[in-house]
Symmetry: C2
Subunit: 254 residues, 2 copies
Amino acid sequence: MKRIMLWVAYDGTNYHGWQIQPGVETIEGELNKALTQLMKEEIQVTGASRTDTGVHALGNLAVFDTGTNIPPKKVSYALNALLPEDIRIQQSCLVEGDFHPRKTATRKTYCYQIQTGEFPNPLLQRYVHFTYHSLAIEKMKEASTYFLGEHDFKSFCAAGSTAETTVRRIYDLQVEKKQELIEIKVTGNGFLYNMVRIIAGTLMEVGRGKIEPKEIKEIIKALDRTKAGPTAVAKGLTLLDYYFEEYPQWNKKR
Amino acid sequence: MKRIMLWVAYDGTNYHGWQIQPGVETIEGELNKALTQLMKEEIQVTGASRTDTGVHALGNLAVFDTGTNIPPKKVSYALNALLPEDIRIQQSCLVEGDFHPRKTATRKTYCYQIQTGEFPNPLLQRYVHFTYHSLAIEKMKEASTYFLGEHDFKSFCAAGSTAETTVRRIYDLQVEKKQELIEIKVTGNGFLYNMVRIIAGTLMEVGRGKIEPKEIKEIIKALDRTKAGPTAVAKGLTLLDYYFEEYPQWNKKR
């Protein structure tokens, strides 16, 4: 038996998120189905991020064990021939038999995209949150600096989360305007349930002038979900990439 | 009666092109249906470009006549509330009663997008042509210069076209690499049937080394469709914008 890791990109529009559920199409379900067909043995993947319904990914990760003779690096090609067009493996490789992406020290990066303007651009609608409101980008940039470092992010965690600790470290948080788009890119050692979408929703409130940038400090300190802004819609969110310090050969390969 | 013009953006993926046809969904059909409902009178639009199945637009144009009291500039808002999410009016305004976008001197700009790489990016797949082949961008740039100016583009016109003349003027043709994407942007006084897609298909052959850049001159001179490259797939094509010399107030408003 060997363990193979997959870098998985998908348009989440037509899926009920990552996690397998009976009666609906999910990313995990599609991967299991295609791998079971390819390997001619029952395969169940273990994913790194259980993205929600409508959330997209360029580099989510999944591992699985198999007795196959297909060279691990070729699995991506064979699997893409069996998967629907909106799921595409970007890379595959052999990992150690006990390797698990969620149990290895990593950083991951999400991007949240907002389109501002008078009318939605239909070519962007699947991947952005559209708002008629104009957003003050400089205020959003200032607010973003208060998230950096290690904090208890309980105020930015959806109710009902079962996380053991709500402490997380944010390494980088950039707010950038690119023509009609505003991109919020955040890198951390992990994220609580809905955390990136609540950060995005809060930064949009800052952009609209409803929250002052320096209030972010107090919102974090409050440890109270009701103090932060609303959860931004799922479709604007994309899991971009994982970064492994121990495995430099995996980083920026794609 | 007054005549109103619409700037129409759409994701063409789920439509059988612009032109109304029985039994299938088309952009023109959706516009007529929504306008008839909104105006409470039978409305039939006249479009500027009859884009093919799968082709997208940010700024196609349509005019229609109506007795409505809705202020022309507000029609866009009211219409967007009735249209499907993948069609969005970007602007509406009153025009002269005999104005027709196809009969007015204009320039229009198309963009053809290509993704090169090892694996398709599922977040781009609706809007790009994916190719495993690496494309020599400098050769494509050189080739693009030979299209500029007024030429008989018969070699770049699909068979069966009923155009009175195959002479067209290309004002600008840019090939640019933007990370994993190659963008071909072309502005002309009009385009023959499939002309932009044949230009894109030919430039890809240049990028692959199958056609030398300077051969473009001979291909144009040949007036023979079989000398040019293949017609690139529809989904990579987007009609970006119209430019009216006589109506500077319309340009770059959106």
